[in-house]
């Protein structure tokens, strides 16, 4: 009687643990809601970096751009910028390439593959006080 009871309990626990682990890791894993930028999925990290690169085009402040990239927690942010730029080039992500190349150039990571995507500087017109 006791043997049967204990045996049934053990079998039940075994089944329960398997089910519980499946639920806890696969079906209903822990969802974090107070995450840092460094925990973002790679896609969103790339998207964030692209936005920072576009922001650099707006304000031309490379220090501010690098500061904005710090929360991503990359060990070497210059390497990361270069890698992402070269990845966008290899993926022909046309809209993203020029701004990322400009950011790479600003941090001194303009590689030969990026050269042809550099934005051509536009000569500034002569200001006139009045017409």
């Amino acid at each position: 009687m006791t043997k049967r009871y204990v045996g049934s309990l053990l079998v039940g626990v075994l089944i329960g643990v398997v089910v519980g682990v499946f639920l806890g890791w696969e079906q209903y894993p822990v969802e974090y809601t107070n995450s840092p930028l460094s925990a973002l999925a790679p896609y969103y990290q790339d998207e964030y970096t692209l936005m920072v690169a576009e922001g650099y085009q707006y304000d031309q402040d490379i220090n501010a751009a690098l500061e904005r990239l710090q929360p991503l927690g990359k060990p070497n942010v210059f390497d990361y910028i270069q890698d992402l730029t070269e990845r966008y080039i290899s993926q022909s992500n046309v809209p993203a390439i020029p701004v990322m190349v400009a950011l790479s150039e600003a941090v001194g990571r303009l590689t030969p593959i990026m050269e042809i995507y550099r934005m051509t500087p536009v000569p500034s017109p002569t200001p006139m006080v009045s017409q």
Binding site: R4, Y5, V6, G7, S8, L9, L10, V11, G12, V13, L14, I15, G16, V17, V18, V19, G20, V21, F22, L23, G24, W25, P29, V30, E31, Y32, T33, N34, S35, P36, L37, A39, L40, A41, Y44, E47, Y48, L50, M51, V52, E54, G55, Q57, Y58, D59, D61, N63, A64, R68, P71, V99, S124, P125, T126, P127, M128, V129, S130, Q131
Partner: protein
């Protein structure tokens, strides 16, 4: 309670399953949860959300793609209107003193450029107005009349009476629904004789002026005025203008516009009139052109 001849106690089995599930969930949620590596923007904490919104605003300040900015903000799954979220971030940055450096000021301006035209507002409204743009004028060469010799008198006799038939007046072309236009020029100028005027010109693919195009100007969130090109033929069939009120920001658009509608600000500027510097309101040239198919 016992299973019919199977040698199992159903009670013990169910109790065991319950204990096992509890233990399994405790282990997977508390002791060894899945390592966080695939977080979406909506899961970001407050500081990270602020960084993300700032990046969206700076990106928008560069590319002026409102739809893209909206979709990026939507990824944050905000509890309120996405534009109000941007306004709140700007307000929070002002309150917490993140307005020290030039970069901080530009961030506030970028945030404001994103949320204010969409009707949102916050405590950062108008604190750091965008300075009036510098006036860069590209001199347009005026056509020089080339002297030509008068044509020699022809020897062909002219009929004494010739019926002069004027060419038929063709209906003026107006853009059909579905035409796609882009903004080709948005440029400010400071002219004491043209005080706060938006000069709109609409061209077709070949660069010919299109009359009869309805131009809509929006301001203050809900005010609009519509006027048409070609009503001042002495200025060209493509031409229409609008008188601005100083201090307001206007959005100019036409039907079929596929690029972001330009925004202009009736900001004060200084210009020379009869040897004296006077303050007038900035005027703008805004050109639209049909996009090549």
């Amino acid at each position: 309670m016992r299973a019919g001849g199977g040698g199992l106690s159903w009670f013990a089995l169910i109790l065991g399953v319950a204990i096992g599930i509890g233990a399994g969930l405790f282990y997977t949620w508390e002791i060894d949860p899945i390592i966080e590596h695939n977080t979406a923007p909506w899961q970001l904490g407050k500081a990270a959300r602020e960084d993300y919104v700032v990046a969206v605003a700076l990106s928008y300040a560069h590319n002026r793609d409102l739809t893209l900015a909206f979709n990026r903000l939507l990824a944050l799954k905000p509890e309120q209107n996405v534009w109000q979220l941007v306004a709140d971030v700007a307000c929070e940055r002002v309150k917490t003193g993140k307005t020290v450096s030039n970069s901080d000021i530009r961030v506030i301006r970028a945030l404001e450029q994103l949320y204010r035209p969409q009707g949102a507002s916050g405590c950062a409204d108008g604190l750091y107005p965008t300075p009036a743009p510098l006036v860069f004028v590209t001199p347009i060469p005026s056509p020089t009349a080339t002297p030509t010799l008068p044509p020699p008198p022809t020897k062909t006799p002219t009929p004494s009476s010739v019926a002069i038939v004027s060419p038929p007046v063709l209906p003026t072309p107006t853009p059909a629904v579905g035409e796609r236009f882009i903004v080709t020029r948005t440029q400010s100028f400071c002219d004491p004789n043209v005080d706060g005027v938006i000069e709109v010109r609409v061209y077709d693919e070949a660069g010919e002026g299109i009359p009869g195009v309805p131009v809509t100007v929006l301001w203050s969130g809900s005010e609009t005025e519509r006027f048409y090109t070609g009503l001042q033929p002495e200025r060209g069939l493509e031409y229409a203008d609008f008188q601005m009120t100083p201090g307001r920001t206007y959005t100019v658009t036409i039907p079929g516009l596929v690029s972001a509608p330009p925004q202009v600000e009736a900001a004060p500027c200084r210009a020379e009139l009869d040897g004296e510097m006077v303050t007038v309101t900035t005027s703008y040239w805004v050109n639209f052109q049909q996009r090549a198919r």
